[in-house]
Amino acid sequence: MSGIRFENVSKQYAGAAAPAVFDVNLQIDEGSFVVLLGPSGCGKTTLLKMVNRLYEPTSGAIFLNGDDIRSLDVTALRRRIGYVIQQVGLFPHMSVAKNIAVVPELLGWDEAQINRRVNELLELVNLAPGEFCSRYPAQLSGGQQQRVGLARALAADPQVLLMDEPFGAIDAITRTALQDEVLRLQRRLKKTVLFVTHDVEEALRLADQIVVMRAGRVLQYDTPGKLLTHPADEFVGELLNSDDRVRQFSLLRVESVMEPLAGQGEGDAPRLDVCDDLRRALSLLLRPDVQRVIVQRDGAAVGQVTLDGLRSAGELGEAWRISCRTL
């Protein structure tokens, strides 16, 4: 059994009236990007921090690749798990290179191997090694710091990455860039990512699966598409604003509602790529003289999208999710 499994996990803080996490059962598949979403105080961070044993569950068990994490040495467990937090927590007295090298050093890698790894990781997070290696955290912007934080978490090539609102303190433009970065990295490195956020947009953008939590309980564990089209209850529906068709469209690619090209040539109809989202198709279709949008793959027309086609999109359920985002 790979990935992370939660079995009847509960956490009761001493002196708290209600449990922070109550009877959670989840299977996080290996290589998937799972977002824990919910309002503050819903227990999402507590759930996350039980995976690297910063908190211990009051009852229940958590398994990493089939092993009960309590049976593993706690420092060894943590060195196998990448950990990224909102405040970054870079070591201010160490250079960027030293920060990234922390876990490899703890694991006793030799110096040449560490240096190679540091350079590789800096390039991976789009920071030029020559420029950044010897800088100190105080000399970096917030976005750059979190890139280093990400590189540091990936240093020893962990299978699992835990991210606790990593972009919560970062401005909107940089945040979008970092989200793209994380998605690109995850697609490439196939890490199992558990990502905490209270930002619905962020969750929809990043997640393969979303765990919606409230008051310590899991309300729904589903794909973004399912959550938008089939919310389990009113709370989930409201949280995700499921009635908002335009938002749904921004997550759905044109390919999913594409119809076969109807005979009459392509004319001067606007064109979109199969990977573009339906929101763009909609704004094109709302222009006065546009009847249809031609969908093309690698430059060749493969289908078309019409307003009627868009109307039927709500029924799609499973076909959701822009998987071929330009990453």
């Binding site: 690297n52 910063l54 706690v74 420092t75 060894a76 467990l77 943590r78 060195r79 196998r80 798990i81 950990y83 937090i85 405040q87 970054v88 927590g89 870079l90 070591f91 201010p92 007295h93 160490m94 922390v102 876990v103 703890l106 100190y136 955290p137 105080a138 000399q139 934080g149 540091r152 835990l162």
Partner: protein, 206 residues
């Protein structure tokens, strides 16, 4: 000046003893204060009573404190050393604690989350980050020790105090002036040296 020129080696020896006494006290005090400060940081509840007790010791006048040490260590340099160590404790422990408190919780969480053991966190993260604050305490402790160590001469500990007390009993103002100037210069030099170290070690703050 005349005295210095006629007996340079004697003066140098007294200065050497004074430096030894001060730095020795500081070093031993640090060896006690650093672990003690760390312990108080881990066990918060102990902090108030321990700092309170050390504060009370600090208020005892230096001559009285040295006299208290005589039954334990005899009428010699060891009593003076012990008193100096006790004086340094308050300053060093308080600054160690403040330095450790100043380490951001996020940094500590990252360190734990990355799989550092408590000892690795202490030596690789907490103390390096607390060091500038600890050194600031060491500066104050050093300067205080230089001053109090002069009294040590009365108890057979030697040091620059010998010049002062001899000067008074022999009515030799040249000795008094020389002793005072050297004590002052020593304090300034130690302060400078430690300040330099402190700045060097916190250069990463931009």
């Amino acid at each position: 000046m005349a005295y210095l020129l006629s007996y340079p080696l004697d003066v140098l020896r007294l200065l050497g003893v004074h430096v030894l006494l001060t730095l020795g006290a500081l070093l031993i005090a640090a060896l006690i204060a650093l672990p003690l400060g760390w312990l108080l940081h881990q066990r918060r509840r102990l902090a108030a009573p321990v700092l309170g007790a050390l504060g009370i010791i600090y208020t005892i006048p230096s001559i009285a404190l040295i006299i208290f040490m005589i039954p334990l260590f005899g009428l010699n340099a060891r009593s003076v050393l012990a008193a100096l160590i006790l004086y340094c404790q308050v300053i060093l422990v308080r600054n160690t604690l403040a330095g450790l408190d100043g380490v951001s919780p996020a940094v500590l969480e990252a360190a734990r989350g990355m799989g550092m053991s408590p000892a690795q966190i202490a030596f690789r993260v907490q103390f390096p980050l607390a060091l500038p604050v600890i050194l600031a305490g060491a500066r104050i402790a050093a300067v205080t020790s230089v001053a109090i160590a002069t009294i040590g001469a009365k108890f057979g500990a030697g040091g620059l105090g010998v010049l002062l007390f001899d000067g008074i009993t022999q009515n030799r103002s040249d000795k008094i002036v020389l002793g005072s100037v050297l004590v002052g210069l020593l304090a300034l030099a130690l302060n400078r040296g430690l300040l330099f170290l402190e700045r060097r070690l916190s250069s990463y703050r931009k």
